[in-house]
């Protein structure tokens, strides 16, 4: 894994900046109204968003800002009240629940804050799961594909471990393997580092950056600015509108930060031996 990370700093220029990259997400005047009794809650008020292939976007916003609703709609888990949404060129509005399920399976990968792995189910079985729900017949050997995905996230030696035998970071890697095993067009991550310590967070962000460099489009929700700075573009949502949409001026590279952390640890180590 470390070799690929070492290679990534050379590719600082975003592949998304190419003018002709296809649009993965295209929404216009997206709005969502929740009606509970007499109350009408406008969770989204006209969101226009275009995301090109290869982008890595951080969505920020306070709770109640509408960013969860936006993520749910972009993740085809919910449908907008009005407005249009095209995912990878396919119109999503008007699809029934089965078509939405198939769309999620073919084009999307999800990573959650709480990992959301199936308990008492091995890492390999967890990663294989999306392939079992595939209806297009793309996967001839789901077992091999799952093994390859686990190796890709650096867990080739943990395939048969159960989630409770893995650390938080490892569990999130399994979740990422499960998200990428179907080769999705878009990876959606909902606060993927929210349950992790800072060092593990940086490791996970390094993995995301690597995957993005390989061409996967990533959209992640986060509260933390230093996590958002690993993205290429930041959206800020407030009161159901996008109030800020700009590229990251000083993009951080998680590999560099990891190297710095390692250096710190190495500097502290002699002190530890002295005190011991």
């Amino acid at each position: 894994m470390s070799t690929t990370i070492a290679a990534s700093p050379s590719r600082t220029e975003s592949p998304a900046t190419g003018a002709r990259a296809p649009l993965i997400i295209q929404t216009s005047a997206l709005s969502k109204i929740y009606e509970s009794g007499v109350n009408r809650v406008h969770a989204l008020r006209g969101v226009d968003l275009a995301v090109q292939e290869g982008e890595m976007i951080a969505v920020m916003g306070a709770s109640g800002s509408g960013k969860s609703t936006l993520m749910n709609i972009l993740g085809c888990l919910d449908v907008p009240t009005t407005g249009s949404f095209r995912l990878d060129g396919e119109p999503v509005e008007g699809l029934d629940v089965n078509a939405l399920a198939d769309l999620r399976n073919r084009k999307l990968g999800f990573v959650f804050q709480g990992f959301n792995l199936l308990a008492r189910t091995s890492a390999l079985d967890n990663v294989e799961l999306p392939l079992l729900y595939d209806r297009s017949g793309r996967w001839k050997n789901s077992r091999q594909a799952a093994e390859a995905a686990l190796r890709r996230v650096g867990l080739g030696d943990r395939m048969h471990h159960l989630p409770n035998e893995l650390s938080g970071g490892q569990q999130q890697r399994v979740a990422i393997a499960r998200a990428i095993v179907t080769r999705p067009r878009l990876l959606l991550a909902d606060e993927p580092t929210g349950n992790l310590d800072s060092r593990t967070s940086v490791e996970i962000m390094a993995l995301f950056q690597e995957l993005n460099d390989e061409g996967i489009t990533i959209l992640l929700v986060t509260h933390e600015h230093d996590i958002a700075d690993y993205a290429r573009r930041i959206l800020e949502v407030r009161d159901g509108r996008i109030i800020r949409d700009q590229p990251v001026a000083d993009r951080h590279l998680a590999v560099d930060d990891l190297a710095a952390l390692n250096a710190e640890a190495a500097a502290e180590a002699p002190e530890l031996t002295v005190s011991a």
Partner: protein, 404 residues
């Protein structure tokens, strides 16, 4: 999802909750086991009754007074007990197919003799009776035609009566008093045992019907006419012949029959029909426990759906359709109930065998009952698993994912 994958997923989640699954399965095991044991007992009883009716005698035809039909107009007092010795004699004289005919005059009496007294049935019969009932002697002789014609006071004792009055000694040649009339014992019948309804067939005294009529009963009506053909093939023809003779004898004209003629098979059917009703009843009662077991499955599946709401959300997020989730839970409940059904068949078969050994009843486990029990347990799984499964499938992915 492929079927093999479905079954694998279902068995995995069953394995993850071993204790709970086993307890749920136990309900079905008990239900299916109870059904199989009850059906085995019922069918055993049916076949035993059939055997016993057949043991009554071969090719036997029974004429009883009164019409077979129930309801309609009651015949009143005169039509009751309208069988006479003339009927029996006419049958014997005119029938071409009957090889034996015997009237039966039923009475009951205290019998005094030997070492004590005993109350028993006293039947007045002709000497054809022995052939009709296919009933060999243990000692002595059956009475002769001359005894009947001369109305001699001779008696034949059933085994039970002989044992009670003349324990240890040979009754042949001894005297017994029936209604203060002295009779000479000329023979003892061999043991026939109990009927299916628990009647001791050996608790009986046979006397010539002529003697019974003049010395004991004092009336000329008779309870039954027994007859037999020499070949089983003649039974149906003999029955219609008998019907014609009886109608003529009773001068019925256009009136309905005032008697009923039944052959061996019809008697067997009537008797085993009762036993069949009983075995259906037993199976129905046992099915209740199967239904209770099914409710147990439904209960556990509902708990399971609630517990695994998050899992359902995850599966839906990564592309499971509602139908995938529905099938998964349905397969799970069917696997539980079918596995319970198979274990139940083993338990039931073993249980039926043990019941047979302990009680001495005949039990009969039929392959049909086993097949029905297993299929029915599968159906219980589908039926009681459907509601929880549909509940799981109807969950919305966002809410399911957010469920704590």
């Amino acid at each position: 999802m492929k079927t093999t994958t479905l079954v694998r997923v279902a068995s995995e989640s069953i394995r993850k909750n071993t204790m709970r699954t086993l307890l749920t399965m136990l309900g079905i095991v008990i239900g299916v086991g109870a059904v199989i044991i009850m059906v085995a007992i019922g069918q055993g009883a049916t076949s035993r009754i059939e055997e016993q009716v057949n043991a009554l005698g071969t090719n036997m035809i029974v004429v009883t007074p009164g019409a077979a039909q129930r309801g309609g107009v009651s015949g009143g007092a005169q039509s009751f007990n309208r069988l006479t010795l003339d009927d029996a004699e006419k049958l014997k004289r005119e029938s071409t197919l009957l090889s034996a005919v015997s009237p039966v005059i039923f009475t009951m009496s205290q019998i005094i003799g030997g070492s004590g007294n005993w109350r028993a049935r006293v039947w007045g019969v002709s000497l054809d009776f022995q052939q009709i009932r296919d009933w060999p002697m243990e000692t002595g002789e059956f009475f002769a035609d001359a005894d009947v014609r001369a109305m001699r006071k001779v008696a034949i004792l059933g085994k039970t009566v002989a044992d009670n009055l003349f324990a240890g000694t040979d009754p042949v040649g001894q005297q017994v008093q029936i209604r203060n009339v002295p009779f000479t014992v000329v023979g003892v019948l061999s043991k026939k045992g109990q009927t299916s309804t628990g009647n001791d067939q050996d608790d009986i005294v046979l006397v010539p019907y002529t003697t019974a009529q003049t010395r004991l009963a004092g009336f000329s009506f008779i309870g039954q006419i027994l007859a037999a053909t020499s070949s089983p093939d003649d039974i149906v023809a003999a029955q219609s012949e008998m019907k014609a003779i009886m109608r003529e004898s009773h001068r019925l004209g256009d009136a309905d029959d005032d008697f009923t003629i039944k052959n061996q098979n019809e008697l067997a059917e009537a008797a085993s029909g009762t036993a069949e009703v009983m075995s259906y009843l037993l199976a129905a009662i046992a099915s209740v426990s199967l239904v209770v077991g099914g409710i147990g499955i439904m209960n556990i599946m509902l708990v399971s759906v609630t517990e695994r709401t998050r899992e359902i959300g995850i599966r839906m997020a990564i592309g499971a359709r509602g139908s995938d989730v529905l099938t998964q839970f349905l397969v799970e409940s069917v696997v539980i109930s079918m596995a319970g059904g198979i274990v139940g068949v083993l338990v039931g078969t073993l249980g039926a065998f043990i019941v047979g050994q302990v009680t001495g009843w005949t039990t009969k486990t039929s392959p049909e009952a086993v097949a029905v029990a297993v299929l029915f347990s599968g159906a219980v799984g589908v039926f009681f698993g459907f509601y929880p499964a549909r509940k799981a499938a109807a969950l919305r992915p966002i809410q399911a994912l957010r469920y704590e």
